[in-house]
């Protein structure tokens, strides 16, 4: 256990936690999009930024990938942090208008209008599906391709993957509801990368499995 200060309140927490975990343990809200307990943190959505002070040096850090150090001072709700989060959310809403998860956050954080040209994407590239497919399922059927503003998620050559086992993990984990699974009889379609699979229902457990 190490002593830290969160929003002016002193406390002791296990030292192997990340800043995000320590803060959330205190019941304090920090928005995240790319973080998931079951996955390695990616530190890519940056919504979880907080202000940390170590040995007198103050910086802004993504809490999910920042390890705790003794006597660390953490502030999660400074005006600057809140402002940065609002700008970030505004940019994401311009990219993906109408996504429920973003709108809920916007309501909570007080983002009222979007000043930028609206696009019509439905994926903000948090990469949870990619990490789940590789870390949990172990097949890496989907991945990132291209770079920068053209960065996208999909199976290689944006065609149906031949290693996907249609487990549906990506659809379950996706916070945007972008990946979804459609079942018609024994045919399962994974949208977004046009895979189709024949599945059979297991007579014992009732789950479906790929034949």
């Amino acid at each position: 256990m190490i002593p830290i200060t969160i929003n002016d309140k002193q406390t002791k927490v296990p030292e192997d936690l990340s800043v995000l975990e320590a803060v959330r343990e205190q019941g304090i809200y920090i928005p995240t999009l790319c973080y998931h307990e079951a996955l390695e943190p990616a530190g890519s959505c940056r919504l979880c930024i907080v202000e940390v002070e170590e040995r007198g040096r103050v910086r802004t850090a993504a809490s999910c990938v920042t390890p705790l150090t003794p006597n660390m001072i953490i502030r999660t709700d400074t005006e600057k942090i809140l402002k940065i989060r609002r700008i970030l959310l505004e940019l994401l809403m311009a990219r993906c208008p109408g996504l429920k998860v973003l709108e809920q956050m916007a309501a909570q954080m007080g983002v009222k209008k979007v000043r930028f040209a609206q696009e019509d994407d439905d994926c903000f590239l948090c990469g949870q599906c990619v990490r789940a497919c590789s870390e949990i399922v172990g097949v890496s059927a989907i991945g990132f391709s291209d770079r920068g503003v053209n960065n996208k998620i999909g199976a290689p050559f944006l065609k149906a993957s031949n290693v996907c086992i249609s487990c549906g993990t990506c659809t379950t984990i996706c916070p945007a509801g972008t990946f979804h699974l459609e079942r018609v009889d024994n045919l399962v379609s994974l949208h977004r990368y046009s895979n189709e699979y024949h599945q059979e229902k297991c007579r014992v457990c009732g789950d479906h499995f790929v034949v």
Partner: protein
């Protein structure tokens, strides 16, 4: 167009000459024979695309003639002329290898239609052959290219850390990264295809599309930018009729912007296949392109 020759075998002169008149008016070359034996003799001296054969001939009958014609030229398309317009005889004739049949009496249009159908059949068969040939060549090609890739992989010891270098070498060899080769790399090295695909789309050195014979790199580094590199790029786009990142229709040129080739003293610079063209003004662009 090559002349299409049709052989008509019928013992009824009216039918023979009628067919000749109709077909010749459609610009076919027509030969006629009144018996099966004579028809076979004629077929041995020339190449016919099609033969119209009366089913009921004196001497050798129509089906036997088809068999004999086939022996002479397996590609000939036989069409039966039948006086008994019944389904049974037609089916029998088709079984014997006729492509189609036409029942007496027929109108000129009926004959033309059946001949046209036959010709379409010939054309499709030829295309099919070409396709097969192409496929076979491609398979050989693929076999060759796979072994070239295997050599490259072996040179790097199948080491995944050398993936970028491996892809660079493959691209050097094939001018771009063909999909089947990337799949082969992933399979052979036992790494996820997603990783190979990610890398080949992430780094600007790689192209997943075939590139032109000549690669035009327009430097848009800062020095070239302030000395008017963008104007040169726009001029090239107009001259070639393509946009940055594209390849001309005849696959002669691929146009790409690059970020600083480090020859800022020559700004603005265009590099075409390893040759540098420096201190450019737009007006020089057409002259330079003409050299290639």
């Amino acid at each position: 167009m090559e002349e299409i020759k049709i052989l008509v075998i019928d013992d009824e002169r009216g039918i023979r000459e009628g067919c000749r008149r109709i077909l010749e008016s459609e610009n076919y070359q027509v030969a006629v024979a009144e018996t099966g034996e004579k028809g076979i003799e004629v077929a041995q001296t020339d190449k016919f695309a099609m033969a119209l054969i009366d089913l009921k001939l004196p001497g050798m009958d129509g089906l036997a003639v088809i068999n004999e014609l086939r022996k002479i030229d397996s590609e000939i398309v036989p069409i039966i002329i039948t006086g008994y317009g019944t389904v049974e005889t037609a089916v029998e004739a088709m079984k014997a290898g006729a492509f189609d049949f036409v029942a007496k009496p027929f109108t000129p249009n009926e004959i033309i239609n059946v001949v046209d159908k036959g010709l379409i059949q010939i054309k499709e068969r030829q295309e099919g052959l070409e396709l097969k040939q192409e496929k076979r060549e491609r398979a050989v090609d693929e076999l060759n290219s796979l072994s070239i890739v295997d050599e490259i992989l072996a040179r790097y010891n199948y080491n995944a850390a050398s993936l970028i270098a491996i892809l660079q070498d493959i691209q050097k060899q094939f001018n771009y990264l063909p999909q089947n080769l990337l799949r082969h790399v992933a399979l052979t090295m036992n790494i996820p295809l997603t990783r190979v695909y990610s890398i080949s789309t992430f780094y600007s050195a790689f192209s997943l599309k075939p590139r032109g014979e000549h690669l035009i790199d327009v430097c848009l580094g800062t020095a070239c930018h302030v000395r008017g590199g963008m104007n040169i790029m726009e001029r090239l786009e107009r001259e070639l009729g393509i946009k940055n990142g594209e390849t001309t229709y005849d696959e002669k040129f691929s146009l790409k912007s690059v970020r600083c080739v480090g020859c800022c003293g020559l700004a603005p610079v265009v590099v075409i296949d390893d040759e540098f063209h420096g201190k450019l003004v737009q007006d020089k662009v057409p002259k330079i392109l003409a050299k290639y």
